[in-house]
């Protein structure tokens, strides 16, 4: 690698770092994205100028096809479907890593790592580890995509001996890698790929739909480590630096999500949490009656309040209610109320999902606050309007030590003067725990589709 190439790669690494740095505030974020594009352009142009790269025509066609597909998907995708889009994109990074590693195995001289059959040990180790991580990322992301899109049941799929099988497979892959590094046998290479594909599926199937924020972040992290692994094979610092950035980013996001649920990463990974199983186990039948209200009551009460905090959850995304919700907020603001939004760290199906949906509906970002920014204010708030969220407001997390969600940080909506709960029915949330809040004196349930309820309230406000 010439020093000019190395320098160019360094420039693009720095641009990638600055691109993430730009995301520290919405006002600098778009510039950050632009710096990322610039960094990628420099990386690609530099690689194309490598003397070994000659088949510009084929590369151009491949690049164009990929670019067109990527752009058209990204332009069309609905913002509520972002989590599955990101999962699908992760799977492509994983698969690309497998193909690059396979290509390096069949033609090592293109990467300056010896010749076929006599690839140095170091490169073999890096190659096989990169392949394994890439393959796990590929199938794992596909299952995550399926669960988010609804192709695969969102319920955790657990069976006896699951973790034992995973352990055996994991050890098997390590053994295959060791054998491959000694023999350089091509069957062994594909066996590693295949075994990693299988373990990728097995790792994700036991994990419930609502744990997907953690999983999507974790796969984000994996795709980074796969890139770093390939970076070692190519002796390329750019790939290592970028891989490390992405890897640590995904890991930090997973950590934040786990903390938002007060669960350990291992607990999420072992799976089996939530879905029907937990609901039947924990869903004790409750004879108490929750007070039920209608949209007209809610409209009247909110019109006469001074401060309102809206708590959106995944149910809002499912019902595509963000636009109607914003319209409702605008009318309330016009009536003289202060309207703000409170976001729980694990609301939605990916980190920051609610913020994007509210931004899409033209809610200004300075009205949208995080849990620790707004949680104290509930006690001075007239109305808390919970729409499509449940577990994240359950006071049992603070008081009931036996509860599945004990210790999870929650939004203290119960401290507000009046609580409205927009829900489709009385069913318990993902954790399968009954929400005490439904039976409080200051709680009124508004049953129905989130979007429909918002529209009815809007009608009430307009009259």
């Amino acid at each position: 690698m010439s020093s000019l190439t190395t320098a160019a790669y360094l420039v693009s690494s720095v641009l990638f770092i600055l691109s993430l740095r730009g995301l520290s505030h919405p006002s600098t974020a778009r510039r950050g994205n632009f710096l990322g594009i610039l960094g990628m352009t420099i990386a690609i142009v530099t690689t194309l100028s490598n003397p070994g790269v000659l088949s510009y025509k084929e590369i151009g066609i491949a690049f164009l096809i990929g670019g067109l597909i990527g752009t058209s998907i990204a332009v069309k995708i609905q913002m509520t479907a972002l989590p599955q889009l990101v999962a699908a994109f992760h799977s492509l990074v994983g698969l690309a890593a497998v193909f690059v590693a396979a290509s390096a195995y069949y033609n090592p001289s293109a990467f300056n790592i010896g010749t076929v059959g006599s690839i140095p040990m170091g490169s073999l180790i890096e190659m096989s580890i990169g392949t394994a991580i890439g393959a796990v990322t590929f199938t794992g992301s596909i299952i995550a995509f399926g669960k988010l899109q609804g192709f695969v049941s969102g319920n955790p799929l657990v069976f006896k001996g699951q973790h034992f099988i995973n352990l055996l497979l994991g050890l098997g892959i390590i053994a295959l890698i060791v054998k491959f590094c000694i023999d350089q046998n091509q069957e062994l290479f594909w066996l590693i790929v295949f075994a990693s594909f299988v373990i990728g599926v097995l790792l994700i199937v036991p994990i419930g739909g609502a744990d997907m924020p953690v999983i999507v972040s974790m796969l984000n992290s994996y795709s980074g480590w796969a890139a770093a692994g390939i970076g070692f094979t190519l002796s390329n610092n750019l790939l290592i630096i970028t891989g490390a950035l992405v890897g640590s980013s995904g890991a930090i996001l997973s950590y934040i999500m786990c903390k938002g649920m007060n669960r350990s990463f291992l607990n999420v990974l072992l799976g089996g949490f939530g879905g029907e199983q937990a609901a039947s186990a924990g869903g004790v039948k409750d004879d108490r009656q929750a007070k039920q209200g209608n949209a007209a009551d809610a409209a009247f009460m909110m019109k006469n309040s001074k401060t309102i905090i809206i708590v959106p959850g995944y149910g809002m995304a499912v019902a595509q209610a963000q636009h109607a919700l914003r319209e409702m907020g605008d009318l309330l603001k016009a009536a003289g109320a202060e309207v703000r939004y409170a976001i729980h760290p694990v609301a939605g199906r990916m980190p920051g999902h609610m913020n994007v949906l509210l931004a899409e509906a033209n809610v200004p970002y300075d009205e949208v606050l995080e849990l620790d920014e707004i949680n104290r204010d509930f006690s001075e708030t007239d109305v808390a309007f919970v729409i499509g969220a449940n577990d994240v407001t359950n006071p049992a997390a603070k008081t009931d030590k036996t509860s599945a969600i004990y210790g999870m940080p929650i939004l203290d909506v119960e401290n507000a003067g009046q609580v409205f709960f927009v829900k489709r029915g009385m069913a318990s949330g993902y954790a399968g725990v009954q929400n005490e809040l439904f039976f409080r004196d200051n709680t009124l349930m508004l049953f129905g589709d989130a979007k429909k309820v918002c529209e009815d309230i809007i009608k009430g406000l307009e009259n």
Binding site: T47, S55, F63, G122, A228, T233, L245, V246
Partner: protein, 129 residues
Amino acid sequence: MSEISNQLESLSYKAQQIANEASQLASSVAETSGGHSDFIIFGITVLVLACFVGYYVVWSVTPALHSPLMGVTNAISSVIIVGALLAAGPVDSNISKYFGLVAVTLAAVNIFGGFVVTNRMLSMFKKKQ
């Protein structure tokens, strides 16, 4: 005097011999490891330092922008296109080149998709008027 110069001569001869052996040893090491042995340690150094950079940079990202963060990281992790381009580079067609071309296509989907969708998300974040 001549004794000393003789000694000096034999010493320098020995030094020359040792240097020759060392260079032979170095080249044989380089052969067996493909000139790679230095890079592993160097690469690990870079990896560890980059993890620290990543740690501090990512913690400074505001939680409201965690979805765009995933979009950007998704796009830049497709920097493995560098490897794909090298694989697809040679003129002669063989399986390795086709693998490379597939990888170029996959990475391109991700690069364009990732940056475009992030730009879409970010363009929606507006301040209060």
